[in-house]
């Protein structure tokens, strides 16, 4: 078994401690940089009185972004966030088209052409007691 003399031991110790404190410092910097402010991430959007959206209307709600549809079945809302990389899709012939990488969706949100792999999301919509339309984009 090789013996570790005092000089080598101290060298090893110094190196080890320097590495350790360097790693700790780096970890602290990464933690520092990873802070995200507590955003008021809105879990619901109040779109005002339901009678603003008559039967048969399709309204673009840019702040979500979503398309609010009022038909015989009631209110429905389709998310316009492309499931590929998050651009906002445009209404186009035969449904929706993404401006970034050309994904296409049919009017029900199903993918008709890639690269998107998942359909557009349907969002929960409610009309509350006050008669206002509320969209819940998180669920």
């Amino acid at each position: 078994m090789s013996t570790l003399n005092r000089r080598d031991f101290l060298k090893l110790l110094t190196g080890g401690l320097l590495t350790l404190s360097g790693m700790l410092g780096l970890g602290a910097i990464l933690r520092f940089l990873s802070y995200t402010p507590e955003t008021v991430r809105r879990s619901q959007f109040d779109l005002g009185p339901a009678d603003r959206y008559p039967l048969g209307s399709r309204t673009l709600i840019a702040s979500i972004p979503a398309l609010l549809i009022h038909d015989e079945t009631g209110f429905r809302a389709l998310s316009l966030v492309c499931t590929h990389l998050g651009c906002t899709v445009e209404t186009a012939e035969g449904g929706f088209a993404c401006p970034c990488h050309g994904s296409r969706f049919d009017p029900s949100g199903q993918v008709t052409r890639g690269p998107a792999g998942a359909p557009l999301a349907w969002l929960r919509v409610e009309v509350n007691e006050a008669g206002n339309v509320i969209i819940y984009p998180e669920e």
Partner: protein, 340 residues
């Protein structure tokens, strides 16, 4: 006189081969000059640019349309940045095609690759600083790509964006990365890279015994050629800046506008084209990184070029490396041209 860094880079005489345009393309030296232009014009822009989502695009407009010579400063900064990517790429191609990356230059090749990556990151962050309606989707897709990386993706996204929504909160982060956290490494690595060129024996040429031309040129001749190159490139920058203004678009305030087609900046058009083919992680992260890794590993996976081949164009002993980098270059060029 005590030798200084300038003398280190310009020894009393150097082999004439090392300073031939047709040998070096002047690409590395031109890149250094472009970085100097970028530093000066960038500092000048900082006097007026406001890194605040409400005011950023307006301050760019102020620089462009109101500040005396602001348009010139901004256009010079823009064109120097675009040319830097082109000359850095030419420099990389030259180094591989003249077998200049073998030992003892392997470490300096790594430094160069580091600078190459930093140049692209700086160009992208600078492009985002315009903060107008054209940059939102490239910013969203670029930062959402980070999220697709397993395990560390969310962390990287927070590091880059500092919030939930890139088009609302990324500006200050990108500003700090652009102005300081990427620029400082470029300066440090750049000085180190230039230092190592000389330390490794200057620009790669065949060893003295195998050199067809024993001629040497003096320090003064070298400096004369450098100044000549700077004048030519400087004049080209001014002409480009006067004839072709840097892109500008209406301010991005609040919601991103709807567009029929969103285009990536020209140097990432090839990645945008890749992304049209499917899964973002595979096409937007894995493939570009595989390409980068292949470039970085060229000096390590291919056999070192034969001594008589070092510093010769298209020598036989590193054919494989030449083929690999040509394929990569053609692949990227074709994708860029296809994406329209």
């Amino acid at each position: 006189m005590r030798p200084n860094f300038f003398h280190h880079l310009h020894p009393p005489t150097i082999p004439a081969e090392q300073a031939r345009w047709r040998h070096t393309l002047g690409a590395g030296g031109t890149a250094v000059f472009l970085v100097l232009v970028l530093l000066v014009t960038g500092i000048l822009e900082m006097f007026y640019y406001v890194p605040n989502p409400q005011e950023a695009a307006l301050s760019v407009q102020r620089i462009t349309y109101h500040v005396p010579y602001g348009w010139l400063i901004r256009n010079l900064h823009y064109w120097a940045a675009q040319l830097l990517l082109i000359f850095a790429s030419l420099h990389l191609l030259r180094v591989v095609f003249t077998a200049a990356y073998g030992p003892p230059r392997r470490f300096n090749y790594l430094l160069g690759m580091g600078l190459f990556v930093l140049a692209f990151l700086l160009d992208f962050t600078g492009y985002i600083l315009r903060w107008d309606v054209e940059v939102c989707w490239p910013l969203v897709t670029g930062t959402n790509l980070l999220k697709t990386i397993p395990l560390i993706g969310d962390f990287l996204f927070r590091l880059a964006v500092g919030g939930e929504n890139a088009c609302e909160s990324a500006l200050l982060r990108f500003y700090t990365w652009h102005i300081f956290a990427l620029t400082l490494p470029v300066v440090i690595l750049g000085v180190w890279h230039a230092f190592r060129v000389r330390r490794d024996g200057g620009i790669a040429v065949p060893p003295p015994a195998l050199r067809p031309n024993p001629e040497r040129i003096s320090r003064f001749e070298l400096v004369r050629r450098e100044v000549q190159a700077m004048l030519i490139v400087g004049a080209a920058l001014v002409v480009l800046s006067v004839l072709f203004p840097a892109p500008i678009a209406p301010a991005m305030i609040g919601q991103p506008v709807l567009t029929e087609e969103a285009r990536a900046p020209w140097f990432f058009l090839w990645v945008q084209q890749l992304l049209k083919w499917g899964d973002p992680f595979v096409f937007g992260v894995l493939i570009p990184f595989a390409i980068l890794l292949a470039l970085i590993l060229i000096p390590y996976i291919f056999p070192p070029p034969a001594p008589q081949d070092v510093g010769r164009w298209f020598p036989p002993s590193n054919r494989l490396a030449q083929v690999v980098i040509t394929l990569i270059a053609v692949f990227i060029l074709v994708l860029t041209l296809v994406n329209r």
